[in-house]
Amino acid sequence: MTTQNSSGAAPVLRIREMTLRFGGLVAVNDLSMDIAGGSITGLIGPNGAGKTTVFNVVTGFYKPTKGVVEFMGQPLTGLPPHRVCAAGLSRTFQNIRLFQNETVLQNVMIGSYVRQKGAWWQTLFAFPAAVREEREIRERSLELLGHLGLAGQADAVSSSLPYGAQRRLEIARALATQPKFLLLDEPAAGMNPQESEELLNFIRRLRDEFDLTILLIEHDMKVVMGVCEDIWVLDRGLLIANGTPSEIRANPQVIEAYLGQTAPRSEVSLKKEAAHA
């Protein structure tokens, strides 16, 4: 598939011919994607299409059976998750994964640890530089919380927050790692229409203020069509479409993947099934 960048900028994330097999199941099949720097890109598809698997490969949780992932010219394939994070990619999870026993502030401070220069024993023996750095991390984390409207809850235990605030905290924690690239896994899940409306502006604001490239998985089509500049569609591990929201909306293959086909079967779908077999 040819590369289509709506913004025309150079790709920061390149995926080439990525395949991931779990035994006999092909979760992702020969996927190639380019994501433009500074864009907000959507990755959509029906349940089980392999979207989260793509996230897990990019962030280092799975090693692809075949193919490469490159971030700003550097290969990411095979790096463990903590190295991927250090390289500047951060993510959130579909089912929120906060450090539940820790406070909101501690959650964000944990995110800052990857950029902390002082070693653990230096704060122990009160090295001035290390103590200063720790104080700066605390201040920066509070500032970040203020940015995301969580400053008032800094000392609350994170699991006590309402659902929407937990989602924001997960994003705040991801931002604390100072990423250049943010992967959001279903940020609108569980939100009511008004909340997801706010989410649209929030995602745009994030991109502009933190100078990010954002890749998001989302089922809420209002959010996807409203915020994404470029959309990639997966179905059963295969890439079936790529384009702007209006192109995707009109794409018959996408409609078929989501709604099923009308009988008799179209030629396109027969071809696709042959490819699967």
Partner: protein, 352 residues
Amino acid sequence: MNTKTRNLILNGLALAALVVFLYQAPGNLDRYKLRIINLIAINAILGLSLNLIYGMTGMFSLGHAGFMAIGAYVSALLILTAEQKTSMWILQPILPWLLNLHAPFVVSLIAAGLAAAFFGWLIALPVLRLGGDYLGIATLGFAEIIRILIVNLTPLTNGSLGLKGIPAHTDLWMSYGCLVAMLIFMTRLMSGNFGNVLRAVRDDEIAARTMGIDTFRTRVLAFTIGCFGGGVGGALMGNLITAIDPKMFMITQTYSLLMIVVVGGLGSITGSVIGAILVTTMLEWLRFVEEPITIGSLHISGIPGMRMVVFSMLLIAVIIFRREGIMGPREFSWSWFFPARKAEPEMKGGND
């Protein structure tokens, strides 16, 4: 006066009170009570070191007795004189290089800690790739291996005869000095961002890795530090009791430490200290159930081991009625005594 200076003053006062107590105690208490007070400090040190591994970082380790054994033997071998060693090794002669090895007590304590930490690190590399119960079983196995090695490496350890006549270097000053050092270390460690990281690794490993934390390295580090504490505690124990043998370091020793940590509260520094006080005194106080008891016409002759039965029942009660232990994950804070003030962060433990 802000809370920081207030806490500093109160910590100083608490320390001064401890010093006065340690100064007065030897003249006013009998040897039995002094022994128990000493044991409380040593058990607190051991409990804290196990809490760092299990409570703070979430690694279920049952190997602490093994690391205590390494510490106790290293320290004893460094302290005993050449004459003592030649007279004690009767089954097989002692290794020649070991005969004249000698070091002062404090050096032997540090050596004990380093030796235990080294073996802990060595074991951690393969074993910490396991999680949960598997880790518990693997560490239990390693502790047994260490014990069996001690029994069989007679030229090095004098085998099952053990070592006797270790000078009683562990006095109140020594044990409580080490405890205060341990408390300061743990409080500083856990209140810094690295403490947050340890708890993150415990709570959600996947999220921790996503946040750029090398969870394996972090766990190996915490395990090694915990083993250092275990070694120092074992050395203090050996120099308190003045005799060590492999039977001292069976799995039951690990269990009583586990009891201290669980009763006090997983992940709580204060909890481990309270747990050490409770478990140590209870184990002594419950000795009465093993003595012959006469109630009216009913006469029960003493049953050895009965206190462990009663103790197990108490432990079961704790698990049923207060699973998170006495402190839960909370810490002692001076602000408990100063209400009215605005909520303060909880992680400001003092050395009580």
